[in-house]
Symmetry: C2
Subunit: 468 residues, 2 copies
């Protein structure tokens, strides 16, 4: 372990630099969903490539897609007999809206106490960057790594990784590995180490309802033509029943109920609704009747309206009967649900319930993903459990993830690879919301953990991990 | 009638100037609801005052309010025995949103064919301005008028005339008149002269629903806390039943059904749903079962959502479970409904139906007005009928107005005056919507009609009109 201690010592020495690098990286507003940030996306990709080169890698490539480019980098110096990991992460971030809710500007990363605040610091720039810093520490101390590494950092995760499938398929020959180690994901609590073994899938739709061909005066016309906002409210209201269940026919087909083991595992977790409500500020938990909060989040499918708008939304009053109403909807899926089928069921259901006087246009996005479950006996999971147990002094808990990482399916179906989540973000860090933060100590814990993961995996004989 | 012919000839000579004055006036973006346009409001008021002075009036005053100022001007040269009219109009306009739907900029009034396009040209700057132009024509030809005139042009009609009640009460001593002649209102069709004898009232509410105290990631949290957009959709959907009736208990209390005479009158009007759908671009009429389109617009109360918003409404996708959802609601009222009571019934109903996990805040605006009905035997209505019959060669039809003019109630309750609508706007001119327009020939028809109205009323003996 003398080699590893040098690496860890090096990381300690670079602690301040590591943090300032994150500040620099997270100050680039790489918002993939907004075309105005195209140049910033390129800037973030370029920044990452530079960082890989400074760490000592020679093979550092910009992989273009029809959307935003991915950054690829590789270290194959450990030879063919050594294990090979594909490290995944994403350098794009969510839009920062609503801007007025941020206490400090989203792209001026700011350290307050043990936290750094800024868009993307937790999802996924902090957890991603630390893997490059560990690479640097290995190469600058030992001059080599005990395993081969392929880094694939994409720029479209927050848009549903629309072009990654194609990119991975095109480069399948170069992306071969034993499994994927993901810097994206996140642990469910800061106080308890955990290993994420499942993630929900995703299906997304956008609706546009139209009534009259133009906005009308609600005094003159009110009550005589249909108001698309009323029709939209009825459609949305009709998507759940009073038990919190989704009413779309066929939505739950193929969905297995939780096993007694799953329910027991969740009951043993240190989780309370009270603490959860404190954390979210919600006045009460709410959801499908018959399930606890974590059961709902990890193992039950959902349908959520992410945005709804129409008519006059500005200051003051405008007595308008609007021509259009809009909604963005996403469903979170569990094993047994196919994204395309769910989108189609929803489409059919909405079209059937459309009232007279209103037309409906539905746009299904490519933003779809199947749910994922890591095999119980996966060798990568074993190493992760060992590293986390040593680092935190207690064995990690198996947890689910409510969110979705569409690339899980890409890696599974295109490359045949499982994915082990090894992110040091925590689920309460307000990702996708104002005042996103990352815990600074976890930047350093993550560095240690990744250094140890690579070291331990590198010691294993190939035969132990890779069947024939 | 020789005096009147001179006035009419003068108006003919000034036709081009009259139109260019409207272009100048309507190019001032006097949007009362948006604080950013405060200076434009002052500019519009100043422009009007200048115009009155140029017409030859000496008493031209800016009447401040806690909001936007009103412009007052008077001509009392006809003496105490002559009739006195209070002329009403408003110089403020609706916000121009959505801007992208305008074919030409809203505040660059543009003549295309026989129409002038621009925000406010129909509601109410064209119909208002022509009364000042008629005043000018009288004074520049005859040097006098056959009756006394008091002009009160307010700047808050599009905000519900919030401070007019107070202003009228404070100046009640100066505003005495035989009745109000309103330049606001509008005829229901360009091809058939009409006299508006009723207007619906108004009650307005704004709702804010809150769930969690901050926006949450809809992957991680979806399905475990209530989504305010779902709750809002349910509340809104629950405000109407499948017959298009408002479900708020007590909403229809005191509402009289249409009389057989009203229904027969409406049936005789040259109106077809087909033409109405062509005009509005709606695929079908829709509303309270058991009523025709005009019955719904003129004599039935409504509840309309004017705006609804929450969550991510920008480009692309953002998987957010929002903290807040908002709606702006207005009800149109008929005789028998009190605005405050309706707002209170709605408030109570919404609060009762609020689901767990959501809090509701309701803001009732001052934007309220009772419905109005002009007495059948009103002397001003007789003059209006005579003038319109001569001008258009056929007697005007009695029609209702779906919209509301809160000042009707102010004039009635504070000054004890009835209001006769004498506007030359037409209800299809896309007021409150993009591409609002005014028919240029009706600017000139309106001038002739107002000149004749004043002339005819001036010939009447006071005793004929004013009961001791």
């Amino acid at each position: 372990m003398s080699g590893l201690s040098e690496v860890l010592a090096r990381l300690d020495q670079c602690a301040a630099t590591s943090l300032s690098e994150l500040i620099e990286f997270a100050s680039i507003p790489s918002v993939s969903a907004q075309p105005a940030h195209q140049a910033d996306m390129e800037r973030a990709a370029g920044w990452l490539m530079e960082r890989f080169k400074r760490a000592g890698l020679q093979t550092v490539e910009r992989w273009p897609t029809a959307g935003h480019a991915a950054v690829y980098a590789e270290y194959l110096g450990a030879g063919e007999d050594a294990p090979t990991l594909l490290v995944y992460g994403h350098y794009d971030v969510q839009p920062p809206d609503p801007l007025e809710k941020w206490h400090t500007p989203p792209f001026t990363p700011t350290v307050r106490g043990e936290r750094i605040y800024g868009r993307g610091v937790s999802d996924d720039k902090g957890p991603l960057l630390l893997t490059v810093q560990v690479l640097d520490a290995y190469l600058s101390t030992l001059g080599r790594l005990p395993l081969n590494l392929k880094f694939l950092f994409e720029g479209e995760e927050e848009m549903g990784s629309a072009h990654l499938n194609e990119l991975v398929a095109q480069n399948a020959g170069r992306l071969g590995a034993d499994f994927v180690l993901s810097a994206d994901g996140g642990m469910w609590s800061a106080s308890v180490p955990s290993l994420t073994v499942s993630a929900r899938g995703l299906a997304a739709l956008e609706l546009t309802l139209r009534g009259a061909s133009k906005d009308l005066h609600s005094g003159r016309h009110g009550g005589s033509v249909h108001n698309p906002l009323h029709a939209l409210a009825s459609l949305i209201a009709g998507l759940h029943n009073e038990s919190g269940r989704v009413t779309v026919p066929g939505f739950y087909d193929g969905v297995a109920d939780l096993t007694p083991q799953q329910r027991e595992g969740i009951r043993q977790l240190p989780f309370s609704d009270e603490a959860y409500l404190n954390q979210t500020g919600a006045p009460a938990v709410y959801g499908e009747v018959g399930y606890s909060t974590l059961e709902r989040q990890w193992h039950r499918p959902t349908l959520e309206v992410n945005g709804l708008w129409g008519g006059y939304t500005g200051e003051g009053s405008k007595t308008v009967l609007p021509a259009e109403a809009h909604a963005k909807i996403t469903c979170r899926l569990v094993p047994g649900q196919e994204p395309e089928r769910i989108a189609q069921l929803l489409r059919t259901h909405l079209e059937r319930r459309l009232p007279p006087g209103i037309t409906l246009q539905i746009h299904s996005s490519d933003h779809g993903a199947r749910a994922y479950r890591l095999p119980d006996d996966h060798p990568g999971a074993a190493v992760a459990r060992e590293v986390l147990a040593e680092l935190y002094g207690k064995p990690p808990l198996d947890v689910g993830m409510g969110g979705s990482i569409p690339v899980l399916e890409t890696f599974q179906s295109v490359l045949g690879l499982d994915t082990v989540f090894f992110s040091f973000a925590v689920g309460d860090e307000d990702i996708h919301a104002p005042n996103e933060f990352f815990r600074v100590p976890r930047l350093y814990e993550g560095q240690k953990a990744w250094a140890q993961f690579w070291w331990k995996l590198g010691q294993q004989k190939l035969a132990e991990r890779r069947p024939s």
